[in-house]
Amino acid sequence: MNPAPAYTVLAGTLMSLAGIHWDVQWHVDVGPDTFFTLPHLMLYSGSAIAGIASLVMVLRVTSAQRAGHPADPAVGGSPVRVLGGRFTAPLGYLVAGTGAALFLLYGLLDLWWHSLYGFDAVLDSPPHVALFISISLTMVGSVIVFAAARAQPWGRIGLVAGIPVLIMFTPLTTNAFSRLGLPIDARLAGSVFFAVCLVLMGAITLRRRRVALSIAVVLGLMQLFLWWFSPWAARVYADYVGLPLRDNLVGVPPLLPSIPMFMLVAALVIEGLLGLGRRRGWSARWLPQLVGAAGGVVVSLSMLVQMSSLSGGAGPVGRSAASVTAVVSDVLLGLTLGALAGFLAARFAVLLHLNAPAADQEGR
């Protein structure tokens, strides 16, 4: 089985991730915008590369199917009949490709939006949120593809690398809920929920030791890279085109404070509880919720420390980080969202296994 298509999709999602961080940093540090900037090129190229690789795989599987070779679910997932059976698309590549196609479609809508409203860098405009969801779809497709190939070492490595990309990206989308005036901080809730759900889903899907830890390590490495890359790239590009940096810059990459920085601690708790539950024979009906709730509390409290230290004392929901109310409400938020994340993580892992049941044999 050739890993190149799956890794091409992953490379596309990584380009999208780095491109969006570079683009937002550019808006914050430098400012003047047109559609034709290098960060936009990187962002759009990422989706284009992932989309083309997905399309090629759909065409290859369709062609093989027509030649009488049954599709192997380990290659991208269960085959799905598309357009009345004209095409046979592996589920993972279908989801990734649909996300890329939607990205280009909503890119056109975004261009029209900017022609009407100008180029103010508002992250939570309707077309921007649609673009973020579209990129997330491509990332979900990438996770499905690697999960289907989990019998192969490259499939497991790809899953451990693909899940952090999705975790890194989710705060962009959940940020849009901030304007609704919810009683809880939407970005905090999103970070707790998605980080716990995706890490736990990866650990349960692969059923190996240290998967949660590995995902957390890769997540940390990606954060470290972007902490360096996005300000560096914005400054180099500004120098290149001869534009000055703005006055009074804060110095913190704008998107990174919303991403859990202490995920390694939460992953240790998740690993420990999962292992303990297995050894003691705890019920599979509630073990994921228990592990999720514990991981959720750790992420929630660590985000309280993280966001208050990065924003100079203010807690993530606008109160003092040290207040008892803040700690209690964050513990409750971590418990409830973590438990829900655990519940869903186990079920998503089941769906990933059912998507490519043949590969399931290796883990038993």
Partner: protein, 196 residues
């Protein structure tokens, strides 16, 4: 045909685009100049400021350039700008240090900035300089309703991808009933040792 052969032209195209873009970026240095089509006057203690707008009247969500020009120039002066408007929570102010406009470095300003909601906005300037500190407010700046389609319509159209994702998960859930298969396929099979 091997996949690498199929993908090669696209990868080469992407690389060419990436490498060609800096060469194209040179003419892009000529970003649009800051044009002021309307001005208002503010007295902040001993300092007189001229507030310029690149479009007038203002409309919600539509970005424009603001310039804040103190008499005598910026030399030796600093300050803050606090904006209040109907989109901000009761009593909250969007306060930030006065910064030079990136495309007009001899004045303070805000570039490609939009005001999120229609209604009455005010801009309060606090200026520190050789004659001490002074504060002044430009109040009752009217921001008209947003142009374009209603926001509800835009949000509906742009929610389709997330609704599609939810529908996809719902179909998969309904078809496979994962809660009933937790033990069946051994995702969390108790006493199943981890593989080393």
């Amino acid at each position: 045909m091997r996949l690498t052969t199929l993908l090669a032209p696209y990868v080469m195209g992407a690389v060419m685009l990436l490498t060609a873009a800096p060469a194209q970026a040179e003419p892009e240095q000529a970003y649009a100049p800051v044009e002021v089509v309307h001005t208002e006057q503010v007295q902040a203690g001993p300092y007189h400021l001229t507030v310029g707008f690149s479009t007038w009247p203002l409309r919600a969500m539509q970005s424009l350039d603001f310039t804040f020009v103190p008499d005598g120039g910026l030399s030796g002066k600093s300050g803050t700008l606090a904006m209040t408007g109907p989109g901000l929570k009761q009593g909250m102010r969007r306060e930030s240090p006065l910064s030079r406009h990136p495309r007009k470095r001899d004045v303070w300003g805000l570039d490609i900035q939009s005001l999120p909601t229609a209604g009455q906005w005010s801009f309060t300037f606090t200026v520190n300089g050789p004659r001490g500190q002074g504060t002044g407010t430009l109040g009752n700046v009217t921001v008209l309703e947003q142009p374009g389609p209603p926001l509800a319509l835009s949000w509906t159209l742009c929610s389709l991808p997330v609704l599609g994702l939810i529908a996809f998960l719902a179909v998969a859930w309904r078809r496979h009933r994962p809660s009933r298969r937790l033990a069946l396929i051994g995702v969390l099979k108790i006493r199943t040792p981890y593989r080393p």
